[in-house]
Each structure stands twice: as C-alpha cells, then as structure tokens.
Symmetry: C2
Subunit: 509 residues, 2 copies
C-alpha cells in the first residue's frame, strides 16, 4: 500500500499546492519516538540546552522571509501578523533559554538532617528531572507560536525533554521547514537531529499518544480532538500527563457605569478584538454582557459601525469556513437572537465578521440557548443584554471554564468604588486570566502569564504560555543520605551552579 500523501493547501483557493510529506505509519512513529528518546542524554547539560534554544531562535530569524512566505501560503494569515508571530516565537525560545540558565525551575530544596522533627529528618535533597519524550500536537491558528517551534516545544526542550511533534494538517509544508531549522540548530550543538521529531497524519497522532516511550503531551486545538487524546492518554497502561488547551468562550462583563463612560471606545475595542486574525484566536471574546438601556445601545451602535467597516477574511481552511457558516446560521435561527451585523459567507473563500444579540435572561437556564455558550471559531461574538447584576451573575454561573474573563469598568469603579473588586472575585473562578479594561486577544510571554483555566479551557492546571509552562515536563526526585561525592552539582552543599534554592527552610536567591 502506498503511503498516504500529505498536501499543502492554499486556503485562499482551497486548491492543493504540492505534496510535502507522507503520513507516518505506526512503524515510522515508533522510529521517530525512539530517535527522540535516544537523544535525551544530549539535553542533560543545561548550558547545551540554552545554547540550542538560542541557536534555534537565531536560525528561525535568519530564515524569516522564507518562513513567513511559506506560512502565508498555507494559512493566509498575512505577512504582517506572521512576521510578528515569528518574532514572538523567537522571543519565547530565548526566554526559555534564560529560564534554563537561571535554574529556578529545578526547584532545589535541601534539608540537612534534623532530629527535632517528628519523625527525624534525614539528609534530603530534591530537584526536578525531565519526564522524557514529549508529544506536541500543533494548533492550526498559530503556525509558529503554537506549532513545531512553539511554546510546547520550547518549554519541553528547556526542561530537557526531546519532542515529537504531530504536524497540523493546515500547514504541513511549514512544519517540515521549521523542523529542519530546529534540527540544524541541534546539529550545531552536537545534539542528534532526532531530538525534534515530526510526524504527519491523524492515525500517527493516535499512535503517538499511545507510545510507551512518550512521557507527556501538549495539545492546542478543539474540544473534540483534545478530549479524544486526553482520554487516550488516561487510558494507557501507564497514563501520562496530557496538557491540552481545548476551547474557551472568554466572557466579558461591561458594567453600566463603564458603558455610560466609554460606550464608543468599548464597542470599537470589542470589534477589534473579536475580528483580529479573522476571529481565529482561542482568547477571542465570545460572549459580552452589556447592559440594556441607552449606554448599552450606544456600545452596540459603536460595535455595529466598527464591525461593518471590517473586511471579510480567509479562514485557515475550508472545513473551518463551513463550520463557521453553519454555526452562525444555527445561532441566528434561535428566537430573540438578532444580528445587527450578520456574520457568514463573504466571497467564495472568505467569511464576513458579525455579531449577535440576545436578552441575557435567555442564557440563565439550560435550554436551546446553551448553543450561545459554546465557542464558535471565527469572527463572531454574542452580545447578551442584561437588566441587572442578578442576570449577570446567573449567566456567569452557567459558563464552563475559560482561558480568560474580562470586565470593563468605569474609572470610578477601577479606583475602588462600586462593584469592581466584587466582579473580579466573581470572574476569578471562571478563568485562568482575568482582565480589567482590556481585551483578551494578545497573550504576552512573561513569567506572570497564565494561559490555561478550568476545563475545557485546559485539561490540567498548567499554562502553555509563560515561564511556568516548563513545569509541565518535569517531575521531582529526592535523594536521601546521598554522599556529597555522588550528588549531582545542583544538589551539592556549596551550590557550585549558584541556583536559587530552599535550604533548611530558608529561601536562598
């Protein structure tokens, strides 16, 4: 049987461009995982790891024009956005290199013997070691930042774990290119090229999650796909951690006072956020609670104007376009749902942005309107008009977990008057990131970032963006009464590597 071809497709036309790879057989997945596993020793030295990550960033930058062109051909995201995303990806690789060098992520804790404890404490020294080969499932909507050289790969390599990436079928050609760049950087530091494996194909993705030498997985994508892989990871004879980012509605609450103070600004800001990247962000605001009355009407008017002025765009693939058009149609068919700007098919290969409105009380009980509480990927949002705070609370109580939750406050509320702090408290259980007077699109790469949230936002309590993403790929190990001569340098008394650590209860930095 011939190997199944993998085609690069132009989303602007729906036409196949060229065959760029073949789907991996079970044997090929096995060989790729074994090669990654065999490469793990080459990542043991932290100085090699950080140098490799920086070299990868340098090499990606050196190939920038070629990579952006290849990415645009497969995603239609445009050179401006893709150039920015590549810069972010390189910044992220270097940020993880800095984290590797600092070494705080090793979580070194040392206890000297203590006979006053109950029971007495022997000499105990704990730090974190890499889990092993990490499977990375790429996203469609970030061909650089959440794909072959994205945050999962960067954080896994930083942790000392080789990766095998399951390429996203929406940019298989770019995936091959980026993998080759990473392997070039690896080779320059005497790391076997197998340290970054790449496989194509749906079945290959399933083989990958089941492979005995795969120790953990990272995933960014749909609830359906992510849950299927989560279930497979949990059902293994030896279950493995599955860190999936699956879906999010990203609710926004606009207070009456905020709408009164900044109706036009909030309306146009919302339009910008929900249509950014043709609405293809996991943090797109998908449900906006706006008060009834004149101030809220003004906000909706501003939103209407701004969205009407926004061009149609090309989605990442034609299946997404079909899903968007069908999803919007099902939602607009609901009674009492209006569409001041109707989203849907644009030209033959594009979609037009739009938004829906609904009375908030329709969302307060289980029923047909629950469809509006499900993510709809693409340039659409739902504006729910509420009468009072009780309606806001009852809608919020019905939401599943989210990556983000946002509140728009007036300047007085932001200064501490009124319900500001209370609303922040109400939003905190709903999401992993809570924003005030901003928009959730745009996820900064920073130590304080958290890109995760209650299920289905993520399948674990971890983040896939920011410095602490490295924690996903490590496990602690404690050495008891190991003689100084046998200890790894990270755990020696005199701290030859200068690591931050907790020594006999005291934090040393």
């Amino acid at each position: 049987m011939a190997a199944a071809p993998v085609w690069s497709v132009d989303p602007r036309t729906g036409k196949q461009r060229e065959q760029v790879a073949v789907e991996a057989t079970a044997e090929e997945v096995d060989a790729t995982v074994r090669a990654a596993h065999a490469a793990r020793g080459s990542l043991a030295d932290r100085t090699v790891r950080s140098a490799f990550l920086r070299a990868a960033a340098d090499e990606l930058e050196a190939s920038k024009d070629h990579l952006v062109e290849a990415a645009d051909a497969e995603t239609a995201l445009g050179p401006v956005r893709l150039t920015g995303e590549l810069a972010r990806t390189c910044y992220q690789l270097r940020a993880f290199a800095d984290i590797v060098d600092e070494g705080a992520f090793l979580d070194v804790v040392i206890n000297h013997p203590d006979d006053t404890a109950t029971p007495p404490v022997p000499d105990l020294r704990r730090y974190k070691v890499p889990l092993g080969v990490v499977a990375v499932y790429s996203a469609s909507n970030f061909p650089f930042a959440f794909s072959v050289a994205g945050g999962d790969t960067a954080s896994a390599l930083a942790a000392g774990c080789p990766v095998v990436v399951k390429a996203h079928p929406d940019h298989p050609g770019l995936s091959e290119l980026v993998a080759s760049v990473l392997r070039r950087a690896a080779a320059a530091h005497d790391i076997p090229e197998g340290v970054v494996g790449l496989v194509h194909g749906f079945e290959a993705g399933i083989e990958l999650i089941k492979h005995p030498l795969v120790s953990a997985a990272g995933f960014t994508g749909s609830i359906r796909g992510g849950r299927a892989l989560f279930d497979a990871a949990a059902a293994r004879p030896v279950p493995i951690p599955f860190h999936g980012e699956l879906g999010s509605l990203n609710p926004v609450v606009v207070t009456e006072a905020a709408a009164t103070e900044r109706a036009a600004e909030i309306g146009s800001g919302l339009a910008g956020s929900m249509t950014l990247g043709v609405g293809q962000f996991c943090v797109k605001p998908g449900l906006v609670l706006v008060p009834t009355g004149a101030a809220g009407d003004g906000l909706v008017k501003s939103l209407t104007d701004a969205v009407s002025d926004t061009d149609a765009g090309v989605l990442l693939d034609h299946r997404m376009r079909d899903n968007f058009i069908a999803g919007v149609a099902k939602r607009t068919e609901l009674p009492d749902v209006d569409s001041p700007v109707t989203p849907g098919a644009g030209g033959e290969h594009t979609v037009s942005p739009g938004f829906l409105t609904v009375p908030a009380d329709k969302l307060a009980q289980e029923g047909e309107y629950d469809l509006l509480l499900e993510e709809c990927f693409g340039p659409v949002t739902v504006v729910a008009r509420y009468e009072d705070d009780a309606e806001v609370k009852s809608v919020l109580s019905r939401l599943p977990g989210n990556l983000t939750a946002t509140v728009q406050l007036s300047s007085e509320e932001a200064a501490g008057e009124g319900r500001g702090a209370e609303i922040l408290q109400e939003l905190t259980p709903l999401a992993g990131r809570v924003l005030v007077n901003g928009w959730p699109t745009g996820v900064a790469v920073a130590p304080a970032q958290h890109h995760g949230g209650p299920y289905p936002a993520t399948t674990s309590t971890s983040t896939s963006v920011g410095g602490t993403a490295i924690e996903r790929w490590l496990r602690p190990v404690a050495y008891q009464n190991a003689p100084e001569a046998l200890l790894p340098p990270e755990l020696k008394d005199d701290n030859p590597l200068g690591l931050p650590r907790r020594l006999d209860g005291r934090l040393e930095r």
Copy 2:
C-alpha cells in the same frame, strides 16, 4: 431499604466490635459535598487556615490516649507505633500551618508593563488559588497519617480547599472520632463543620469522585482501587486531577563491595525494614538485588537469622491476610524460587515474615517470574541473586515505577570510587526517592521530601508527603491590568503581606 451498617472489626479476632456508622447514600454524599463547598469561603483567610490547622493538631494531641486506643482496636498496629504516627500527623498539620503563614506556595509572580518584550507585556500578576472541594481516599495502613487528618487533608485545608474523606473500612470508628476532632477545631475558628466531610461505603466513594463540585482527589491504596478511581476521575464530563499513590516494589541494589564490607549489617537492616509494621508499608523493600558468592551468601545468612527471630504479626484485616498467604504461595511455587524463611500463615489470625530467593536472570525477561516484580503486601521480600552488573541493569530495566529505589554501597563507593554515581543515575528514572545506605521505610515530613514516582507509584508527578504536597490543590490565575485598588493584597506592589515573590524577573525573599 435500611441503610447498610458499617462495622468496626477487630483484626486480632476477625470479629465485629460494634456498628459505628452507615454507608452514605448518593443523596448523603451530595449533601456532604455541598456542605464542604459551602464552607470554602471560611478558608479564604490564610491566618484562619493556619490557626485551624494548629488547633486541629492541639485537639488531636489532647485526645491522644483515646485515639490511640481506638486506632489499635481497629488496626492492631500497637500503641507504640500508633502514638508515633499520631505525633507525626500533628507535626504534619503544624508544618502545613507554617507553610500557609509563609505563603511561598502562592507562587506570586508580578510583571510590570514592558514594551521591550515581543509582544509587549501588560501589567500581569499571578498567584495560586484553591481548586475547591477535595475528595480524600484514606489508606488502611496509616490510620492517622494517611487518613482523615493525614497529609491529603492537611495539605488540602492548607491550600484553602474543604475536604470530603472517604473513610477506610478498616478503621471506620477511628475515622468518625478523628473527623469529630477536626470539626471541633473548625468550630473554634468559626469554620463550618462541613469543611471536613466524611462518608463511608464503596458506592459512596464512587459517587464522590463523580460529584460535579469535587475539584480534585487524593488517594492512597491499591493499584486496582486507585486505577478504577483514576479512570472515573478522567472520564467525568469535567475531568479532575487525581493524585493517587498506588503501589511500589521499592528495589534495592546491594553492590558486591557493600556486601563484602557490611553483609551482616545489610542483612539485619533489610530484615528490620521489610518486617516493620508487619510489612504493611508502601515503601517496604520488595526486591533486593544481592550478588552471588560468599559476600552475598553472608548477607542472606544474616537476613535469615534476623527474619527467623521476628515474631508473627496481625495484618490490618483478614482479606489482606488471605491475599498475603495466597500471594506468597503462588510465588514459592515458581521453579528455582527458594524460601530460606518461609512466609505465610502464623497463628489463626497472624502471619509469619519470610523471604524468597531467585536467580536474578529469571527476572530479566517477560514470563512467569514477572509475579515477583509485583508488590506483595505484607512481611515478605524477594532476594534476587545476580552474577554481574549487566544482570542488575536488565532487572532494573524491567521494573515499573516506584516510590523509592535504594543502593547499598561500600564506603569507598560512597566516597566516589567505582560505580556509585552511575548506579544513582540508573535508579533515578525508576523512583521518586533514591536512597543511599539506608532503608526506604520511614518517610520524613520535610520540604525536600518527595513521596511519589513514575506510575504506578503515583498517578501524577506530585507528592503526598512534604511541603510541596500543597501544590496539588491549587491553580494559577493571572490578573491583567487590574488596578491597584482592586488587587488582592497578595498581588499589590508594596507587598503588604511580605510574601516571597518574583518581581519583574527578580526573586524576592
């Protein structure tokens, strides 16, 4: 239908002592979880939490005599061991109170806006918040330290999470007593008594893991029971973290040089560790690699003498006694397995300790001898005699994950000569705690402790003993551009609570 009675049973006679409770119905489980959920706000203040934990320790100590007597009646572990275990349990509650007060576990990370980052970083402030109600599944073998007031409960309360404990059927009466002590301590700090729920019954345990308001679970017990609950936790519409400690073989490697130097000491030390608590520890050494030849023979002789001198003991219940006797019989039936001291039935209600020997090469390939690589709960261990280092390596390569792995080295090897460091490297992938020249029984409560390991030792990368056990019950949340007036005190610029934190990349302690 009458509620199913829960009986307290005397393991020394197998006779029912008294009815102490009834099994919880689904409705009662629901009510218990809802009461715990309703109590979560009372744990929001960290000063209240730490005071509650200290009060719980004080109250347990005040009831010491009564509790030890009740525990001994249901477990037969004896007053000396139980008094020590209760002291450990109180120490643990106070250690978590200290951790709550210090606040490092909140993992505060603050980034002020930074336009030089790619993309620019807004004001981001991250810390950790409690997950919600935690289900705790008690162990049989630690009626205090891994039961109602044990490490899972202490760490969950410290994190700000109410708990619902599924009582172990081997000490239901003690479970009720300890729960009442905890509730007395809660009431003294104006915390609703529902903050510590308790349910009895197998079905109740299943209802508990499925309850929508349960956010996470801790478990200590068998592979079969733990895996069933792990599977149920993963199969929920909203999956939850399941931190289970399931089983461990706890391999020990004795080098030729160590056997030559300390045959008698190692043999008697091993006898003490494997028979401690009638072999009912999850860290009991269950497989010991001993060299062939005179030095190893001397070790086996010493082990034989010491085990022969060890009294028969009462196991925690009669089902365990039946399993132990049957498990030992199946193992001794294997060809080439000898039993220098035959373990098995002692008196009518007791079991005698013993150990088996086998040539190590029998364990190097898959086959009937794999039974010897499975944990056998009770006072038995397997001594595998090896010819050379290659045999040691091939046996180690066949082991599932472990809580501990131990090496006995000579003084020269401990000083850095020979294979000491190499063996430590080989043991690290196998376990969460690696010991040199000690025995794994005895798990200190300390910040550097790690009581966990690759599956099936634990179902996650976390620990159930030591300070970092608190991490299991928290999730991060980041606030973006939240005005100072609305921030929780933990995240304010001027650090009014004096928390350790990472501020703009710098670690502040």
